[in-house]
Subunit: 193 residues, 2 copies
């Protein structure tokens, strides 16, 4: 398989179905957004993002997730300290904390993280369609996150997602960065490793 | 926040932007498909699915994934034995094995699974847009998966994704099952747990 997608050539590629592939376009164009306009999300937009997360599939349909919606600016500034790369939370319109059973407390722990990934991608793609940028933050300070979010001992939060209208609206239409992803030939194998 | 999405009322909801929200529609309508038509995927469709996975964001942009594409029918039948709920692989047009560094071998193991979830959702949504159904399978027999896929000791495969055109094309347009997801009120909290 050839690698055709390192530039917006792939986004502009109309070979498959003749020009209407908005899901693919969202997937190919979405980029991490870390700088947000200060205005809050339109309530319907926030609800849409949450609905998108809720609709994700999950292992045995267990839906082991709680989405804690944080909008208070002082709270967001505190949450920005949960990790070295979480500073974007301070300026987000909304941060959604993904709280789930502590993966260390169950043999199926790793499947929780996979399921949270499915839900997170749904939320970020649905947001993108509404002109809202997003980026995940990893929690490196779990006790701080627990204190700020108040979830019980058997739960954990390893990710928050920042959302907001981009500070620079051009971020929504900028072509994908060349070389931002490994080429297809490098990540795909045929039948066996 | 009210729970508006247990039926296709939500899918048909045009309140937000006036009728053109195909990403949301794909998210809300996509369902797990486990019975596939026997025909192979159009090569451009398979490439699109792989490109969608490759475009996913990942922790520090590490892209710690290899997508092993399995199409040989005998191989698919063998792979269907990797877990008690993996039988659908036998009839899939393609199974894509998500191979990544063994999460047990690294302190950042759980972030691998989250990243694989992001990539998997991209692939399944891109597929849906092309009329292709999908469903993940969890590996319960890691040594069998390793033998069948041939990846090295420091890698693991905890998920395969089955893809194919649905045996019943109505699956692509059927309204979402009522009650298939927990109501929004139950999964969302405000500011704190």
């Amino acid at each position: 398989m050839s690698d055709q997608a390192d530039s917006d050539r792939a986004v502009g590629d109309r070979a498959v179905s003749g020009g209407q592939e908005p899901v693919w376009e969202a997937i190919a164009r979405k980029r991490a957004i870390r700088r947000f306009a200060p205005r809050p999300l339109v309530p319907e937009h926030l609800e849409r993002i949450l609905q998108a997360g809720r609709h994700a599939g999950s292992s045995k349909n267990r839906q082991r997730w709680t989405f804690v919606v944080c909008r208070d600016r002082a709270h967001l500034r505190e949450l920005a300290a949960v990790g070295p790369f979480a500073g974007h939370i301070a300026g987000a319109a909304v941060a959604i904390a993904l709280v789930a059973p502590d993966p260390g407390s169950t043999t199926s722990g790793r499947s929780i993280q996979f399921d949270l990934g499915l839900a997170a991608e749904n939320m970020m793609l649905a947001a993108w369609e509404l002109g809202i940028g997003s980026v995940p933050a990893t929690v490196y300070e779990p006790e701080l996150a627990r204190r700020l979010l108040g979830y019980p001992d058997d739960k954990s939060c390893e990710y928050l997602l920042s959302f907001g209208y981009p500070a620079d609206p051009d971020d929504l239409t900028r072509p994908p960065k060349v070389g931002g992803r490994r080429p297809l030939d490098e990540v795909v194998r045929d039948e066996r490793w």
